[in-house]
Amino acid sequence: MRGRYRLSGLCSPLPVLILVQISSSSTMWSRRQRRLRPLSCGVEELRCRRREREAALRKARREQQLVSKRLLRDEDPEKAEGYVAVILGEAEIQQFLRLAQRGTEEKEREKALVSLRRGLQHPETQQAFIRLEGSIRTLVGLLTSNQALLQLEAARCLHELSHSEQSTVAEACLPATSYLLTYLSGHSSDFIELCLYTLGNLIVESEAVRRQLLPQGIVPALAACIQSPHLTVLEALGYALSQLLQAKEAPEKIIPSVLGSPLPQHMLQLLQPGPKLNLGVAVEFAWCLHYIICSQVNNALLITHGALSTLGLLLLDLAGAVQRTEDAGLELLACPVLRCLSNLLTEAAVEAVGEQMQLRDERVVAALFILLQFFLQKQPSLLPEGLWLLNNLTANSPSFCTSLLSLDLIEPLLQLLSVSNVVSVLVLTVVCNIAEKGPAYCQRLWPGPLLPSLLDTLAFSDTEVVGQSLELLQLLFLYQPGAVQAFLQQSGLQALQRHEEVAQLQDRVRALQQTAQHG
C-alpha cells in the first residue's frame, strides 16, 4: 500500500492544491517499500521451491538462456490472500474491451479495463486474449487515448501480457512498443514506470523483439528518460536497461550505442555515494555497468569518466552500510560492484589516467575485508568474487600488498581457508601475490599462522589447492630464512609425501623435497 504522496512534476503554473509530503526517508540507504510476492505455503515448501528455482536458473545459465522478468502488480495485502485470478473467455474479454472503448460512464470504462487486467493475470485469459481478433489493436487504442486513467489501465493490461512466459503472448505486445517509447519522454512518473517495466520484460523476450526496439530508438529514449528525478522511474529504467545489456548480441549491437550516449555518465552519477543514493536504483545500474564492462567493448571510456573512483567510493560506502545494518539486500549491490572493479582493474587504460581516477586508496582493502566477513555470514557464494578483486588489487601492487600486511589482514584471510576449494585456491593465490614480491614481504608473513595453515592445506585432496600451496612454499623457501627448517620440524616432508604420485604435483613435490633436504 502506498502510504505517501509524491510531489512529482507539479510545478507552476499549477497552483498547489494540497500540501504534500515528500516521500523518501532520510537514511542514506532509503529504498522504496518492496514486498515479496504473497505466497500461501509453508516455510519448508518455500525452501524447496526456491531450491528448484535456483536449479532451474543454473541450468538456464549454463545454456545461456538466463531470462527473468519482473512483475509490477498492485495488490492489496488483505485481498491478495485469497485472491485467485479469474479466467476470462473470449466473449467476456470482448465485452470488457467494448465497454472500455465505448462505455458511457468513465468509471464504467475504467472498471471494465480493471476487470480485464485482473483476468489477464491468468495465463489462460492471456491466451484467449491473443486469440481474439483485434484485441491488441483495441488495447493500443486505449493506451493512446487521451483518457488518462484508461491509458494507465490499458498499460497495466499490456504489462501483464509482457510478463508471460509464453512468447506468443509477450510478442503480442509488439504493436505497442513505439508508443511505450514515445511515452518515456512524458512526465507522468507512474505511467513511465509501467512502460519501462513492460519494455524490460519485452526486451528479454527474444532477439526479434530487440531488433524492433533498437531501430525504434530505445537507447535515445532511455537516455532522455534517465534524467528523471523520480526514483521509481530510475529503478525501472535501470531494470529495462540491464535486460537490454544482458542480451546475447549486446556486445556487438547494443553496447556501442549505449556507450555513445549520455547513459554511462548518468549511470555513474546514480552510483555515487551520498544522501541521494538509493539501493534499488543502484542495484540496477551496477548490474548495467557489469554487463557493459565484462563485454569488454570500450572500458577505457568508462575509466575516463571516473568509473574506478566512483565504484571504489561506493565500495567504501557499502562496507560502512554493512557494519551499520543487518540489511541482507546489500549483497545484491556488492556483487556487481566487485565485478566491475575487478574487471576494470585489468584494463591498460588504468595506467593512462590521472592518479585521482585510479584506485589506490588503502581503505578499499579495509572495505573489502569487511565485505568478505559479511559474505561469510550471509552469502558465502560471493566470497570467490571478493577474493577475485583482492587478487586484482594485489597482483601488481606492492602498495596494496603492504597494506594487507600493515593492517594485519593475513590472519583473517587464512581463516577463510576452510570454506571451500575455490576459496582456498584464491586465498593462497593472494598470499602468493604478497610473497612473490620478495624477502621484505615474506618476512612480514612469518612466523604466524601461515605455516600451520599450509600444512593443513597440504592435507587437502584437491590438486589445485595443493598445487597452490606448493607454489607458496617455494616462494617461502626462497625468500624466508628459517622457513625450510620450520617446515621440516613440523613434519612437512610427510605432508608432501602423500602427493608424490599425483601427476600434476609430482615435479613440484620433488623439487621442494630436494630444497628441504639439501638446502
Partner: protein, 260 residues
C-alpha cells in the same frame, strides 16, 4: 572471520596509499617446475565464475514484486477539481490527478489546445503547424524532422517522414502521433480520423483522442457509416469534461450538436 579492530577505524579514516615495502625478486621464483606468476584476472560475460552471483540476481528479479498504487485501494483525499482553466475533471486521488495533468495539460499547444505526450512532440507540432516561417522554408529545404529522439534526419514532406518512420524505425504505418496534415477546409473522412484502434466487430468509434496528433485536421467528425453517433455526449454529467483542454472540449460538443 576475526577482523582486527583497527580496521573499522581505518575505513573511517583518511584516504591514503601505503608506502610499499621494497620489492626484490629472485629469478628462480616461479621457474619450472613451478609456475606461479602474480597476474590480474579478467572474466568475460558468460564465464561460469559468475554463475552463483547471476543466479542470485535473477532470484531477486523474480521475487521482487514492486508495488505501484493504481487500484481503488490508493489513499483517498477529499475530492478536488482540476484547476486548469475550463477543465472540470474531479479527482479523489493525487496520483490520478497527476497522470491526468501530465497527459492532458502539460504539453498543450497554446495555439490549438491539442495535448501531446511529450515536450518533444509538442515542439514539433508547433513548428509544423503554427509557424509560418516553417511553411516557407519547407518549400525549399528539408524541414520535417524525424520524430524518433536521436535521429537527425529531415524530410521534404511529412509523407517522406512517415515513410522513413516506417521503413527505418519500424514504426506502425498508422502511428498515432504522425497523421498527415490536410489543408484546412471541410473535413473529409479518412484514415486521419479513425485514430483509435478498430473496434471489435468492425464499427468505427472515434475516441476523444484526437488531441494527441502531431498533425491533425479539424475535429469535424464524419458521419458514422452505420449511423451510430456519439450519443453519450449528452449523458455526461456537467461536472465531467473529457480532457482536451477546456475550450476544445466545449467546441467539439457544439459541433457535434450541429451534426445532429
Amino acid at each position: 572471520m576475526q577482523l582486527p579492530p583497527a580496521l573499522h577505524a581505518r575505513l573511517a579514516g583518511a584516504p591514503g596509499e601505503a608506502e610499499p615495502l621494497p620489492v626484490e625478486r629472485d629469478p628462480a621464483a616461479g621457474t619450472t617446475p613451478f609456475r606461479f606468476a602474480a597476474r590480474q584476472v579478467r572474466f568475460p560475460r558468460e564465464h561460469e565464475f559468475f554463475e552463483d552471483g547471476d543466479v542470485q540476481r535473477h532470484l531477486y528479479l523474480q521475487d521482487v514484486l514492486t508495488q505501484v498504487a493504481g487500484d481503488p485501494e490508493r489513499p483517498r483525499v477529499p475530492e478536488f477539481t482540476c484547476q486548469v482553466a475550463g477543465c472540470c475533471q474531479v479527482f479523489d486521488a493525487l496520483e490520478d490527478f497527476e497522470h491526468h495533468y501530465h497527459t492532458l495539460h502539460r504539453n498543450v499547444c497554446s495555439f490549438c489546445k491539442r495535448a501531446f505526450p511529450s515536450g518533444h512532440l509538442l515542439d514539433t507540432h508547433i513548428l509544423e503547424w503554427h509557424d509560418s516561417l516553417f511553411q516557407i522554408l519547407a518549400e525549399r529545404q528539408d524541414m520535417y524532422q524525424c520524430l524518433v529522439e536521436g535521429c537527425t534526419e529531415k524530410f521534404r514532406t511529412s509523407r517522406d517522414r512517415k515513410e522513413h518512420l516506417v521503413t527505418r524505425h519500424l514504426y506502425p504505418a498508422d502511428f498515432r502521433f504522425d497523421k498527415p496534415r490536410k489543408s484546412k477546409g471541410p473535413a473529409t473522412p479518412g484514415p486521419a480520423v479513425q485514430v483509435s484502434a478498430e473496434a471489435l466487430g468492425g464499427d468505427q468509434v472515434p475516441s476523444e483522442g484526437d488531441a494527441m496528433e502531431v498533425c491533425f485536421e479539424h475535429t469535424e467528425l464524419p458521419p458514422e457509416p452505420s449511423g451510430e453517433r456519439r450519443t453519450y455526449g449528452h449523458r455526461i454529467p456537467s461536472t465531467i469534461c473529457f480532457g482536451q483542454g477546456a475550450s476544445r472540449g466545449f467546441k467539439s460538443t457544439k459541433k457535434r450538436n450541429k451534426h445532429q
